[in-house]
């Protein structure tokens, strides 16, 4: 495992000012309600604007509409958007993982069909993995695809599927062969499919979370037909394909910038408050952690650029990052005393309220803390 740090080049950093200028021009999109967890706030209009600027699918081949830019150039753009609290939710999964997944495992037809639309910022994807009885134990999923004439028929249910109502397509992980009783083979027999969520037999229902967001959904599949050409990758290889996504999914700056706006606002307020002196040490500690997290995440991005799949390093970034995010509100409330409220006039109260209510999800989504640490333990040779 390694986190060899890098220094961004002038070319990479130049994008930073472009994004800031863009955000200045489109400041109306940066509201209180999307400041925290802005990568879970969908805004098709904003996504399309980003698409027009070439900031979706930045690293993808030009033949599919991509920019063939480096992972680090992409990194600069997304960290600027996230730090500003920009609503990038609609295209987020497509850009972060579904596009790379298609590039790695997709057919030519799939790549030509989906990637150019994703790049434009108006083709959105959701990810169907968890089920009511299969969360951390993803290999125990029961949704199944049966072979029929011309394709497959899918029956089952997914839950916690963010953006299933906003998105048109779903990358579905399901059984394509019966679940093996042999523990050694439980990762076999799963496949990934691209499901058109407007297909007959698909029912989607939003689930409201305690923070008042409803990006979560239940998705029911009642003999949903999926054509042959929408099998993604190899039949029965779904598990291994999903594992390949993890380094992308877990290592990015979204894992520690979800509530950066709270930190920025608190620093601005502390400057002129009577708690200024007592807050200095805490601010310094938090910023030190943030600086190092960023270095670790940048290192992983540069390793991804080099073609590696640093899954253990990604787990570390995600665990340290989400712990940092969860600590932010818990620590800052001690130096910026506010009664948090969604409908408060003061921005800081709103930011605290959002951060505190959304905090549990930071370390649950994309692999719980306990699962990540188990993976790390394995990587350390303990299992």
């Amino acid at each position: 495992m390694n986190f060899t740090p890098i220094v961004l080049t002038e070319t990479e950093n130049a994008l930073r000012l472009e994004v800031r200028k863009f955000l200045d021009e489109h400041g109306s999109f940066l509201t209180n309600s999307c400041a925290i967890d802005s990568w879970f706030v969908p805004s098709p209009e904003f996504s399309r604007l980003l698409g027009k600027r070439g900031w979706i699918g930045m690293t993808w081949p030009r033949q599919y509409g991509g920019g063939e830019r480096s992972y680090l150039e992409r990194y600069v753009v997304i960290e600027e958007l996230l730090a500003a609290g920009a609503p990038v939710g609609a295209h987020w999964f497509a850009d972060r993982q579904t596009g790379p997944l298609l590039l790695r495992f997709g057919t030519e037809e799939q790549k030509s069909f989906f990637l150019p639309k994703m790049v434009q910022g108006d083709c959105y994807f959701a990810i169907g993995m968890s089920e009511p009885n299969s969360g951390s134990d993803l290999a125990s999923i029961r949704t199944e695809a049966k072979r029929v004439d011309g394709g497959w028929e899918v029956t089952g249910q997914k839950i916690w599927t963010s953006f299933a109502l906003t998105a048109r397509y779903l990358v579905l992980l399901c059984r394509s062969a019966p679940l093996s009783n042999d523990r050694k083979h439980r990762h076999e027999g799963m496949s990934q499919f691209i499901v058109d969520l407007e297909s007959e037999g698909v029912t989607r229902r939003p689930i409201c979370n305690l923070a008042g967001e409803d990006h979560f959904c239940e998705v029911f599949f009642d003999n949903v037909f999926v054509p042959e050409n929408r099998l993604l990758g190899k039949e029965d290889e779904g598990w291994h394909q999903v594992m390949a996504e993890l380094a992308f999914e877990r290592s990015g700056p979204e894992r520690f910038l979800s509530n950066f706006q709270l930190l920025a606002e608190a620093v601005d307020l502390l400057r002129t408050s009577s708690s200024c002196e007592s807050g200095k040490q805490l601010i310094g500690q938090l910023i030190a952690r943030l600086m190092v997290l960023r270095q670790m995440s940048l290192s992983v991005a540069s390793q991804l650029q080099a073609g590696a799949l640093p899954v253990n390093e990604a787990s570390i970034v995600k665990d340290l990052g989400t712990s940092f995010e969860q600590d932010l509100a818990e620590c800052l409330r001690m130096v910026v005393a506010v009664e948090p409220g969604y409908d408060a006039e003061e921005r800081i109260s709103h930011l605290f309220s959002s951060s505190i209510l959304k905090a549990p999800s930071f370390s649950l989504r994309g692999g719980t803390r306990e699962i990540l640490r188990g993976i790390l333990a394995k990587g350390l040779g303990l299992r």
Partner: protein, 349 residues
Amino acid sequence: MNEIKTLIENSISSLFENYRDSDAVATMESGGFPEKYWRDIYDGGWTRMALPEEDGGAGMGLPGAYLLMRLSGYHAVPLPLVEALLGTYLLGIAGVPIPEGMLTVTIADSGVHPPGGGEEPLAIKRVPWARHAAQIVVLFPGEHAARLALVDRAECVIRHHVNVAGEPRDDVVLQPGAVGKIYELPGITTERVSAWLALGRAAQIAGASFRALERTVGYANERTQFGQLIGKYQAVQQQIAEQAECAHAARCSVDAALLQIDSSQEWESIAAAKIVAGEAAGKVCRIAHAVHAAIGFTQEHSLQLSTRRLWAWRDEYGNEALWAKTLGDLCLGLESGGLWPWLTRQTSN
């Protein structure tokens, strides 16, 4: 450059490993000086690491020196390599011929002017290894740059003290006339040297953290209770994973700071490293001792070679609170909305 780095790493690690089962640490802890160990390191040219090639160095500058410091932390080397390496480097910059014997470094308080013949004695507390050093590199604050004097230990009165790792941290009183020639250190303030020293401790912490992690994983994969290896229990695995995260964060923070030496982000990168490494040290120790249980708590078991150093080093050259207050003060001094631009600013390379 990477091949050279690997060669250097393998070479010095070899040297350090040769002394693993020696009585060098015991010698230090009983107040003695591990003479042969020092000789081997000096004669191998290792203390000159940061000097340019034409001065007998490796031409790798400070990053090369910090590689050695990290490895010395890993191997619990009972010698002041941080001070010897930085002292040698500073003498090189000042144009002072590098002396034969062991060096240490210290910074005199601000507001104190270097005494010349007939002045008051100058007291400096907790100078690493002063009792065994041949000479002490003493830095004084100057208006735009620090000033340096090379003081003979014989001109000092020394009171012996140690840190919790048993390393010498002696109080020194420079007698009148001890400070002779004063040299300028262009472009280097005492604040900057302070930061370099702190980064040295952070590098040692990074090294010792990985050693503690290795010992912990090794123990968990050896010790059985209730019919299986304790490393099979989730409670143990979760903690060791956390320990690994801390070690990696400490290491990355130091390596990232090394990339910023001479840049406009040098100071805050070092501050972040000292804070993160300091926080890591405590957690690494807590988890190491939790997993090793009683046997790891003994004097005889080698775990304490790592953990006592981690506890000592995090409080030297400024603890997390000191560095965090200064970093926090800097951030609170930025203009409104200035935090993110400041975090992401970069001098062109």
